[in-house]
Amino acid sequence: MQIVQVLAYGILLGGIYALLASGVTLIFGVLDVVNVAQGAFLVFSALFTWQIWDTVGIEPLLLIPVMGVLMGTIGWAIYRGMLVRVVPQGPGMTVLLMFGVALTMEGILNIVFGNKFKSVTPDYFTSSVKLGDIVLPMPQLISGVLAIVVLGGIYAYLRFSWAGRALRASSQNRDGAALIGISHKKAAGFAFAIGAATAGVGGVLLAIMYPIFPATHYEWIARLLGVVVLGGFGSIPGAVIAALLLGTMESFASTFVPQWAPLFFYGTILLILVFRPNGIMGSKTREDVA
């Protein structure tokens, strides 16, 4: 029975990873930019959630839309203010720019919140739910389910709305999309805003699950990038598969060989990349006429 418990826990964890990583992979798909500041966005959102909860005492889950919109706006501003100028210089430079953004955010958060762990602990923080023989902690259950719901919503939006189709068009063929009236700049700004908004939502979910302090953004971005690389850059289904795989694996490893759990995470990624350098759902494209 322990196996089922560990599996359920892993799927919930994977769901959260999937939501967080989908933001990174969406931004990559449309902009060709690896947003290494996504972890900083997450921690930023989580610490602001903590601040509001600590001052006002509001139910943290109600902050989900607020933080989503806030981070979306910040993300859009970062794209229009800085990133749009650096994109033409290629992937190495955009990664470095976003690293600069991450460090700047970390520095600001350090000064504002200090280098201490903060936890959001609403009254359900220590409760758990029993489903037959399986016992799931309430915060993990709520976060996991909400993450899957939000991710489903985003996926449906990209799939079925006009704006979503425009985004996908722009990510598959930038010039072709421009010819039929889709401004790449607008599509890219929108994609970056949505990607950042997932970090806003994810930050709230993290805040009720884990203690947070500014430098934990490295740990989070490490996992998200692991998921995205493994899934194949730019592929949301790939990211979901990789997230569930790594979430489950982490859950098993931390139950049975706790000390080695993080190593399993990176070990798997390195191993899979030996055989599939472009990730699970990545593809090698024709390069001779590029």
Binding site: F28, D32, V34, M82, R85, V86, Q89, G90, P91, G92, M93, V95, L96, L97, F99, G100, V101, A102, L103, T104, M105, E106, G107, I108, N110, I111, N115, Y218, A222, L225, G226, V228, V229, F233, Q259, W260, P262, L263, Y266, G267, I269, L270, L273, V274, P277, N278, G279, E287, D288, V289
Partner: protein
């Protein structure tokens, strides 16, 4: 390089280095200043090392600090186990980092651009975790304490200063050596266009792994020393991500790909770092300031200080120099007297084992459900000019890519001179005598025409990698070939400055440097003017007379029919028919599938 050194400006960094070496004598009793200079030198060492893989080859590593950590642990662990001073283990630090870098490089260099950046960070974290987990060896999270150095206390940091200084000098020499070698030229070619580099015989895997290992060595040597200097090694300190980011910032702000840029950048950033920590409020401020400097550098000084300064100087000076105008018509006239050895095919005079120099048998290549090449068998006769035509999407370029090794076919064989080469890598095929050009030219745009021509390699050998960039007779042969093509005037031009048609000729000249026995030309006449097409046709005929077999994919039917002795027609991934130009011209199948009924109205242009 030698030319640069003759210029007075070339001596400036050398003088600065000498001054640095004299600093402790000028400023005696300056333990603090020495420790700041040590931080500067360490960062300069790391930035210069990083520059070899990330500046030259363009593979941006964001986790290169891992090799400093490995050096630190090498010194700490082994000095404890063997009971010797860590600094004697500095050469061993080079060995362990090189070994680890070769192993890691073999994995991570399989990925490119974005994935590579991410994977390098993952490697750093993996080693941090390993150091934490492997408690019996590394002491786990508590780390290892290293006893104080053997010298008298009142010497302070002075011996460390000169040890770091020595490592810095050695690192700069290593960088200088690599940049002026064939290896360095190959790495720049890889940065420009990796697929193209492979097609002209550069063993890209070997080159990248070599550069990666060489770039790690200075880290390993400095790491052993740095561990003893700190007298303490722990996982977070040894494998911190911030070190890796700061060293990239240093190389960036000084100028990637240059010899002195990373060194100067190292001093600038280490000084800024020290200032932030001491005067602006400690660690939090340091992270904030580094973040802001990184953003500003990427946005406003992406090329780095040194390249920007030299560009500004060049701009000021160029007012007094006029750009040389090159008469178009001079290209159309090629020199008549040419040393034909320069364009001679390697197979000339040797009797091959097979009538067919290049052969494919039952070749299949599909992409998802699309059978781009669907069971093609054909042979290219030795010494012929053979055409390959067919409608768009008939699989010509895919077939080409299977022949050259860019794609590996799902099934079937490729034979060169009767020997199967289906599994050979792209550069091996180039070494074996198979050369190719591209439909859209892929010259190395940041290099001059001459540098483009000396880039191809006829074989892979260590001797060649360490040879000087212009060593051997390559330059003479390159000039001879340029003369043969009528391109001698363009020798010093940047490839990007040439017209598309001229670039096509240069690309062909580049392939000739391989002394290929067969050349595959992918739509050589597309997008170039009629004068150049005529010129190209002449070049192809003369190459063929000199013994080279030519295979042409082309939509310019009059050109194909007038040049070729044998033509294969592809349609829907299969060979529709093969024959002489006369047979093809009148074949009803070909007319229906490709040429159209009115093609005979066209007047042959050659």
């Amino acid at each position: 390089m030698r030319e640069k050194l003759k210029h007075p400006r070339g001596y400036v960094p050398v003088i600065l280095l000498v001054l640095l070496g004299l600093a402790p004598l000028i400023l005696p009793d300056s333990s603090y200043e020495q420790s700041v200079l040590i931080a500067c030198m360490l960062l300069a060492i790391m930035a210069s090392g990083w520059n070899l893989i990330s500046g030259l080859a363009g593979y941006v590593s964001l986790g290169h600090g891992v090799y400093l950590g490995i050096g630190m642990y090498t010194g700490a662990v082994l000095s404890k186990a063997w009971d010797i001073e860590p600094m004697y283990l500095m050469p061993l630090g080079a060995v362990t980092t090189a070994i680890v870098a070769i192993g890691v490089g073999a994995i991570v260099l399989r990925t490119r651009s974005h994935s590579f950046v991410i994977i390098t960070i993952a490697v750093l974290w993996t080693f941090q975790l390993l150091a934490q987990v492997a408690k019996p060896i590394t002491g786990g999270a508590d780390g290892i304490v290293i006893p104080p150095p053997p010298w008298a206390r009142d010497l302070g940091n002075l011996p460390y200063f000169y040890l770091f200084f020595t490592v810095l000098i050695l690192t700069i020499l290593l960088a200088w050596f690599v940049m002026n070698s064939r290896l360095g030229a190959g790495l720049v070619a890889i940065r420009n266009d990796e697929g193209k580099a492979a097609s002209i015989g550069i063993n890209t895997t070997l080159y990248k792994i070599t550069a990666y290992a060489l770039s790690a060595i200075p880290f390993g040597v400095a790491g052993v020393l740095y561990g003893q200097y700190l007298s303490f090694v722990n996982p977070l300190g040894a494998f911190g991500i911030l070190t890796s980011v700061i060293l990239v910032l240093a190389a960036l702000i000084g100028g990637r790909g240059t010899l002195w840029g990373p060194v100067i950048g190292g001093f600038i950033i280490a000084l800024a770092n020290e200032f932030a920590t001491v005067s602006a409020g400690g660690v939090s401020a340091r992270v904030l300031i580094m973040g802001i400097v990184l953003i500003l550098t990427v946005m406003f000084l992406p090329a780095g200080l040194l390249p920007s300064i030299s560009a500004a100087i060049r701009k000021r000076r160029s007012k007094s120099q006029t750009v040389k105008f090159i008469d178009q018509s001079s290209i159309a006239k090629s020199r008549t007297e040419v040393d034909t050895r320069a364009i001679q095919s390697r197979s000339l005079g040797t009797v091959g084992s097979s009538e067919m120099i290049l052969e494919v048998q039952n070749l299949v290549k599909s992409f998802g459900g699309v059978h781009a090449v669907d069971g093609v068998s054909l042979g290219i006769e030795r010494g012929s000019i053979t055409g390959l035509i067919g409608p768009n999407g008939s699989g010509k370029t895919t077939l080409f890519n299977c022949m050259t090794g860019t794609f590996s076919p799902n099934s079937g064989k490729v034979l060169l001179d009767g020997v199967e080469i289906t599994k050979d890598r792209v550069w091996t095929r180039a070494h074996e005598g198979l050369g190719r050009t591209f439909q859209i030219t892929r010259l190395f745009k940041s290099m001059t025409v001459l540098d483009n021509l000396v880039a191809p390699l006829e074989k892979t050998s260590v001797k060649q990698m360490v040879a000087g960039r212009y060593a051997g007779d390559e330059v003479d042969r390159a000039r001879e070939i340029l003369g043969f093509m009528g391109l001698q005037e363009f020798e010093k031009q940047n490839a990007a400055a040439l017209s598309f048609g001229q670039q096509k000729l240069v690309e062909l000249a580049q392939v000739l440097m391989l002394r290929p026995s067969i050349i595959l030309l992918d739509e050589p006449a597309s997008g170039i003017n009629p004068t150049l097409i005529e010129k190209l046709a002449n070049v192809i005929r003369r190459l063929n007379e000199a013994g080279t077999t030519v295979l042409i994919v082309e939509h310019n039917i009059p050109l194909v029919l007038s040049l070729c002795s044998q033509v294969h027609v592809l349609a829907a991934g299969q060979v529709l028919t093969s024959g002489t130009p006369e047979e093809i011209r009148n074949d009803p199948l070909v007319i229906e599938a490709y040429l159209g009924p009115d093609h005979l109205l066209e007047v042959p242009i050659v």
